[in-house]
Symmetry: C2
Subunit: 250 residues, 2 copies
DNA sequence: CACAAGCAGAAAATCGATTTTCGATGACAA
DNA sequence: TTGTCATCGAAAATCGATTTTCTGCTTGTG
């Protein structure tokens, strides 16, 4: 029966994915459930890199990861290849993989490019977005506001919760931009900066809420220039704070 | 001895790479020689997709490709994963890979995003570029001019030669932009449009040379607005022609 | 001492056998 | 007829054994 068969498939996948230590069944970035071991490994590694659990520059031993996740070498290799494509890890033929390094220079580049590209996307979104888009922004903003900013030393879950809402708010702003490619690039850069954001988390008090409010207000007023300016300032300030913090790697 | 050992390595790699039918030792995009089978397969597939030898939408059977290149399944899988990251192929868990489809909508998106991003990069390049940069542009322009535009029906090699120079000219324009991320995104989009360019090659006579000249002149005059305008027009016109051509896939 | 060559263990890359999933086809009941 | 469900070959995914390459250490030499 299809239902039972499908049920069985899901169950089988759960059986295959879940009992592996350190591997949790998650969702891909487009909200699809993970349907293969490789994707699960990919997601797990990605999360660990973004949260700097795997440190910038760290060598990634394929055999070690395979043992840790209880999967085969190929699964790990493929996951690493995919991460390399987003520049979260770097690959060199015959020499394996390592977590992409971080540096002030890279952060500056990411930030500048991000400001430019977010601006492009935001302009288009303001031009094209309808009432539902604005409603989405307001909802995302309210949710974000309602969630306490995680304090340094907070448990991972608390941090994750805020992080998800923050991501969602920023995505809501540009979601009406109607250009898959711009959104994709924006997403790549957002992800890149997430790692840096983590490194400098909580080093300096800051009125993030007010900044978000300014952006949201300008967008809702459809004031393109003010919105772009507010967003740019927001991103630039984040980068500044991170640079100031002089984090532990480099 | 180190030297002999190194020589031996290279020879061994050549032995391993070259006798495979349909697989040629090439260079990676950063000019490094290909040092692994996987990279060779990646490069080969990429070339075949860009030249539409592998048709948009076509299913890519892993086993078939592995047989064709005389390599293992894993090598092909990994190559395909990498291609998926650039959106030259699409992957779906448990369902394999296919060449990314083409469509008017996608072309429009690629073109719009490309115009925006090339403009960003060009502005920065004009701002930062020195004499060597200008010299590079002039050299690339002269070389491109000296090469006859390939006619429809021309041999692949002729086509490839022009294509390489064209790529090099456009890259020269923005090469001084000093932002790895912008350049990377630009490159991705250039590559994407190459496939479309191929589909509509030669459908309508056009003064490409003059367009390139206009761009080069404005850039050499450091006239930012004129340069950006000329480049945008150039890209937009290309897209228009392709759309007009109503190519055979969709 | 500085430097080349040789060697051994570690790690990456490759392979093809095995397992799992997909998808088309046909049987059967409502 | 229409919609389920079982079946079966094809294709994808996974695995771990094998081969190749790298890397650090040791030894020998000028």
């Amino acid at each position: 029966m299809t239902l039972v068969a499908a049920g069985y498939s899901r169950a089988a996948m759960a059986v295959r994915l879940s009992p592996r230590p350190g591997l949790t069944i998650g969702l891909t970035r487009d909200g699809q459930p993970v349907r293969s071991l490789t994707s699960a490994v990919f997601a797990q590694l990605r999360a660990e890199i973004l949260s700097c659990h795997l440190k910038p520059g760290e060598k990634l031993l394929i055999a070690g990861l395979a043992r840790r996740f209880a999967v085969s070498l190929s699964a790990v290799r493929e996951a690493l290849s995919r991460l390399a494509a987003e520049d979260l890890v770097q690959a060199e033929d015959q020499r394996g993989f390592r977590v992409s390094p971080v540096s002030i220079g890279r952060l500056r580049d990411i930030t500048k490019a991000r400001i430019d590209i977010e601006a492009l996307a935001l302009r288009r979104a303001i031009e094209l977005g309808g009432a539902d888009w604005l409603a989405g922004i307001r909802a995302a903003y309210r949710e974000l506001e309602a969630t306490p900013l995680p304090q340094p030393g907070d448990a991972g879950a608390r941090f994750e919760a805020w992080r998800t809402l923050h991501r969602r708010f920023h995505f809501a702003l540009v979601s009406a931009c109607a250009s898959p490619w711009l959104l994709r690039f924006r997403d790549t850069l957002y992800e890149q900066s997430e790692r840096y954001r983590f490194l400098a988390h909580g080093v300096r008090p800051r009125a993030v809420g007010a900044e978000h409010a300014t952006i949201a207000r300008a967008v809702c007023d459809r004031d393109v220039d003010a919105a772009v300016r507010a967003l740019s300032d927001h991103l630039a300030l984040t980068a500044e704070i991170i640079v100031e913090s002089r984090w532990g790697f480099e």
